[in-house]
């Protein structure tokens, strides 16, 4: 039986039916009716942030850490424009979030009304899809479609713009349990013939590599990747977004590839004769100079989004489909053929010998100087102390790369990092989202002194919610990643990479009622980190690291990935 409901009631009811229990948001005139409804809805926890960008990153952090759709709610105009960076961040990394924005009443749209902005126009190129709801009768269906589009296929952000009069209008409530969009049918099941072709390439290969991307995480294909690697004895490398898609501590793991990847991962890919790319999009940070990328390799590319395939590199066997199902099919064929695992091992024996030479020649490493705290040492210590069990968010820059290199991610959804857009200020609000969704887990934000100041205001949000997040600031007193480029490629002309004023992070923490800790000498690091981890409160740890430490290896932009600058 249908009952008459207001638009605002329908919106809240839709959230409940989609299983949403946490919404990150910030109120205003254009969403006051929805807020009034939330006031009466104890099942949905609303987290009041301090800036709408924070709300989007928090929703994103919730999504990345759980696989669910993150939701945020903001008002029209400036509330809506403040979400754009967060939406673009989620879009670039294919993260499912639904952003609900208030809008001026339909009859005022286009009139330059107070706090009106064309947010569907603004976000068209950085959402998977967006909607402006013009009739209250369309509301339930639109919300259902928004969640469906956000989470299926290649996931991504969906924005729904909600004019105020629609929130107030009444209609019968019909919730569509199923939704079918004739123009949107993502393909999950791979083409069997293509998978067979991939198998045949494996049979004739002697130097294969599995390349794991973010798609493995989003499709939950980590078990299948592991089974494939172990069954056939193939080395595995990961993109930044793929870290955790295969255990970083596994003997077959080569770690991350690309601009700041390991020497041996880049060498293996460059010399391979077959790359099985699973849910990776061959970003320029991964390929380096495209013409010189893996010149001898045949490429099998599994991706649910056909546009990712053949976009940057030529592909020999495209497989359009879900990573998990495609690998399952490949494993099925492997088991059907039943070639003994020993034979595969034999087939790749020389390959492994070569890889082990590379591994021994240039392992991931850094030099201690006895005086400065080395950031890599901090990450190693963090890894040991947390036993690799934390959910680790990062900011952007050197801090992010050191984390990717030195924290070994064994499980999916444990590294939350803005890869595609590289959004400074992402990590801390993302940590808030992750901690809200995972109250029993340890959540870290590994930060830079620059990035942390981009959304520092969310300290208050974390305190409101009593979130015991540990923010580890690798404080080099520089916009370090930019400084590193200036050092290497601009003759050390350090233009605009040093702040004249840096707040006292310990006092700042205390000002918010959090705990501030500091380490300035190597011998203090372990104690300070232990103390932070034992503290049941938000902690800001200010670690003064070697100011001019670089991230190595490094492939200069536009160069072949074999042209690495080593330590």
């Amino acid at each position: 039986m249908a009952t008459k409901m207001t638009g605002a009631q329908i919106i809240v009811e839709a959230l409940k039916r989609e299983g949403v229990d946490i919404v990150f948001g910030y109120p205003g005139g254009a969403v006051i009716d929805i807020y009034d409804e939330l006031y009466r809805t104890p099942e949905i926890k609303h987290v009041l942030v301090r800036h709408e960008q924070g709300a989007t990153h928090a929703a994103d952090g919730l999504a990345r850490s759980t696989g669910k759709v993150g939701v945020c709610l903001v008002t029209s105009g400036p509330g809506a424009t403040n979400t754009v960076t967060g939406i673009a961040t989620a879009y670039m990394d294919s993260i499912p979030i639904v952003v609900l924005t208030g809008q001026v009443p339909t009859k005022l749209i286009g009139n330059d009304a107070f706090q009106e902005v064309d947010i569907t126009g603004i976000t068209r190129p950085c959402t998977k899809h967006n909607f402006l709801v013009k009739r209250v009768e369309d509301l339930a269906w639109t919300l259902k479609a928004a969640f469906h589009i956000a989470r299926t296929g290649r996931p991504g952000p969906v924005l729904v713009d909600l004019p105020k009069d629609i929130q107030q209008a009444k209609t019968d409530f019909h919730w569509p349990e199923e939704i079918r969009l004739r123009s949107y049918n993502p393909v999950y099941e791979p083409h069997k013939r293509q998978v067979e072709k991939a198998y045949r390439l494996l049979e004739s290969s002697t130097r294969p590599v599995i390349l794991v991307g973010g798609g493995v995480i989003s499709s939950g294909a980590h078990e299948e990747v592991r089974e494939l690697a172990e069954l056939l004895h193939i080395p595995v490398t990961m993109t930044l977004m793929g870290l955790g898609g295969f255990p970083g501590t596994h003997e077959y793991s080569l770690g991350m590839l690309g601009m700041h990847g390991t020497y041996y991962a880049n060498m293996a890919v460059a010399n391979s004769d077959l790359i099985i790319a699973v849910g990776a999009r061959f970003d320029d940070r991964v390929t380096g100079k495209v013409d010189a990328f893996a010149p001898m390799a045949k490429i099998v590319h599994i991706d649910i989004d056909p546009t990712s395939i053949q976009k940057n590199v030529r592909v020999d066997v495209p497989i359009v489909g879900d990573c998990k199902r495609s690998l399952a099919k490949l494993l099925e064929i492997i088991k059907e053929v039943g070639r003994p695992s020993k034979l595969w091992k034999e087939q790749f024996k020389e390959w492994w010998e070569q890889i082990d030479i590379w591994r021994r020649r240039y392992p991931l490493t850094y030099k201690q100087d006895g005086e400065h705290i080395k950031p890599q040492f901090v990450i190693e210590k963090l890894y040991q102390l947390t036993k690799g069990e934390a959910i680790v968010c990062t900011e952007v820059g050197q801090n992010q790369m050191w984390t990717a290199q030195f924290y070994k991610f064994d499980k999916p959804r444990t590294l939350l990092s803005s890869g595609g857009l590289g959004t400074m200020g992402y990590g801390f609000p993302a940590a808030i989202g992750a901690q809200m969704a995972n109250p029993d887990k340890l959540v870290l934000d590994i930060a830079g002194d620059g990035s942390i100041q981009m959304n520092i205001q969310e300290m208050a949000t974390a305190m409101d919610q009593r979130l015991p997040i540990k923010v580890i600031i690798l404080n080099n007193g520089y916009l370090g990643m930019v400084r590193q480029w200036q050092e290497l490629f601009y003759d050390r002309r350090y233009s605009a990479v040093q702040f004249a004023t840096i707040p006292d992070f310990v006092k700042l923490a205390e000002a918010y009622g959090a705990v501030g800790l500091r380490a300035t000498k190597p011998e203090e690091v372990e104690g300070v980190l232990k103390k932070a981890l034992e503290t049941n409160n938000l902690v800001l740890v200010d670690i003064h690291i070697a100011p001019e430490e670089g991230v190595f290896p490094m492939v200069p932009a536009g160069r072949a990935t074999t042209e690495m600058i080593l330590v």
């Binding site: 068209r124 190129p125 998977k128 013009k134 004739r182 123009s183 056909p306 053949q310």
Partner: protein
């Protein structure tokens, strides 16, 4: 190798759908040579004929990117589908003074154009045909003095097989 492609695109008849398509081309640096939009028999779908150019990899990306849009129902690369009919229409307002009026009419006759408006000093000529014909007519009328020119852009349709 760069090549011209005519794409036939069916999209949901929703506000913003066209903006999404045009935005996609602008945002990714693809070319639009011409674009024609109109209703179809099914009022919930619009039809677009889009002429673009690029090498094989670009065209492949354009088609995939179009298909990725949630509102796009179907994309066909007419150029790759074998034989097709293509038509464009142009209205050409050409100077037609005493001494050239007969000349204009003669050309219209040869190219089977229609004169659709007449003034003491001009003829407005309607010409329909494949792009090559439109261009030929324009070239021939140019020396006489074209005052105004409006073209519709191309529409195209696949030819049915002649034998069963």
């Amino acid at each position: 190798m760069e090549k011209k492609h005519t794409l036939s695109v069916l999209v949901e008849n929703t506000p913003g759908a066209l903006a999404r398509i045009v935005g996609l081309f602008a945002g990714r640096g693809f070319n639009i040579d011409s674009l024609c939009v109109a209703e179809t028999l099914d009022p919930t779908l619009s039809h677009l004929t889009l002429v673009t150019h690029g090498d094989d990899m670009i065209i492949e990306q354009i088609i995939k990117q179009l298909r990725r849009l949630i509102d796009v129902y179907k994309v066909v690369d007419v150029t790759e589908e074998g034989e097709f009919v293509e038509r464009e229409m142009a209205l050409i307002k050409v100077r037609a003074e005493k001494e050239t009026r007969a000349e204009v009419l003669r050309m219209c006759d040869i190219f089977r154009c229609k004169v659709v408006d007449v003034s003491p000093r001009t003829y407005t000529v309607e010409v329909t045909g494949p792009e090559s014909k439109i261009e030929a007519v324009i070239e021939l009328l140019k020396p006489l003095g074209i005052k105004e020119l409006v073209r519709t852009g191309l529409i195209a349709m696949k030819r049915e097989k002649k034998s069963a």
